[in-house]
Amino acid sequence: MLRLILALCLVCLPVHAAEEQVVLGLSQDRVSITANFDGSEILVFGAVKREAPIPEGPPLEVIVSIVGPSEPVTVRRKEKKFGIWVNTDSLVVDLAPSFYAVATSAPFSEVLTQTEDLRYKVSVERAIRSVGADMNIKGAQDFSAAVIRIREDEGLYSIRENTVAVDEETLFRTSIDMPSDLTEGDYTARIFLTRGGKVVSSMETSIDVRKVGLERILYTMSREQPIWYGLMSLAIAIAAGWGASTAFRLLREN
């Protein structure tokens, strides 16, 4: 009997997925890093579209995550040598997102099961990949844990449980703060609808995070025309130095 119910449930799940779909809105789909950029707040809101009445069983939960572009990161560990703290072991974590925020409508362990987390890579632990872990290094997993810890301290990684508001199992909204020291790139907003820890629907959209204006020009120039950028920096410095000394000499003579 129990087995029959279980089998029924499994058959039902894909049906659920088709029955409930996310309709999404974002307050902004681009973040512009300008000269006085000091962080941004993105409002993520949406509704659940369904043909049938609200299914029975566990309540609908929502997970919203915003993920920055992933890049390899070198993690270094300090050890005491000759009386001072020196970087010794290092390990390259193949892929680590530059930004990772997860907001949920209930405690994380309740909205998503471990297996579903593995499948959809929702929590930040799943998003960090380090395959080529060097076996010679003691505690290689400490290194990826360090990436999470350091970026959590910097406000780049966060898990905000109970911050997605869900009304009538249909409307949801949350806001996610993004700090001022963001890396540029294509960010992804992902939304998962879950019931009883299983994902019933998901969708993705991208958020464009770009330096704009002067920031853009200077950054691009420094990478693509480093010689001109260097000469320009020197010219500005010399002009400022000369200008200031002339200005003060004139002031003193008057």
Partner: protein
Amino acid sequence: MYRDARHNPSRLEEAMQIYLPIAEVSVNAFLLLGLGGMVGILSGMFGVGGGFLMTPLLFFIGIPPAVAVATEANQIVASSFSGVLAHFRRRTVDLKMGTVLLVGGLAGAALGVILFNYLKSLGQVDLLVKLCYVVFLGVIGSLMFVESLNALRKSRKGGTPPAKRRQRGWIHALPFKMRFRTSGLYISVIPPVLVGLFVGVLSAIMGVGGGFIMVPAMIYLLGMPTKVVVGTSLFQIIFVTAFTTMLHATTNYTVDVVLAVLLLVGGVVGAQIGTVIGARMPAEQLRVLLAALVLLVCGKLALDLLLQPAELFSLGDAGGH
């Protein structure tokens, strides 16, 4: 009231938060102007470049060391340029000696950047920069402290210090002699080239002009007359730091021109104020203060290296792998 202002940043303060395009951090513009101004006042008061104070202060406010070093080199070009103009007007620049020092300096800067980039690839560049600072600030700070205390004691006794005899030792036995008219010297080019080389390496690694090493070396080692020393060293510093800026800009992309402009606006204004203050205050007491400040910065850097850091791990780019 002051505390309230800090806890609830006003609109203006928020608006003055500025995003540095290369350092990729957001810093308060007033803080940078203030730092520039404060170091500028000190450099005006004591006639020092200020790079050796500014770079560690930039570490303390969270600018990545590689960006701090490269940007500071750029800022020194500006402050040295305004300084050297005054010396050219007074004809206190020994161009020939400056050129010889410069040849060594350019080679040294290139060597320094190669070393910098090699250690950067090993993940040891922060350590290198900080160790250099601890050693040099420690030595210079202690020497200044002792010297200025002695000077204070002597000025109280009222005696005059005995005149120093010019050394005529091994320096005059070296080959490749050259005549330096402005300095009134006939010496080998080897010592000035070596002094320039050493200062060039320091400039690339520490983001300093190196005047604090070069000026004593020129007086005591090369025996140059004091009145041409500062102008000549500024002449050398402009070109060496400009070269260092270019090397860092083209190999590491770490010169942040927005940061440099903010620092130098503060610095240039501060230097003018500092010159006025310096002329009105007793020099010996001020020197003790400067020495104490240098030792304080050195102590803070040394503690960071000696004490167990709260976070043993650090993250870096994996670029170049």
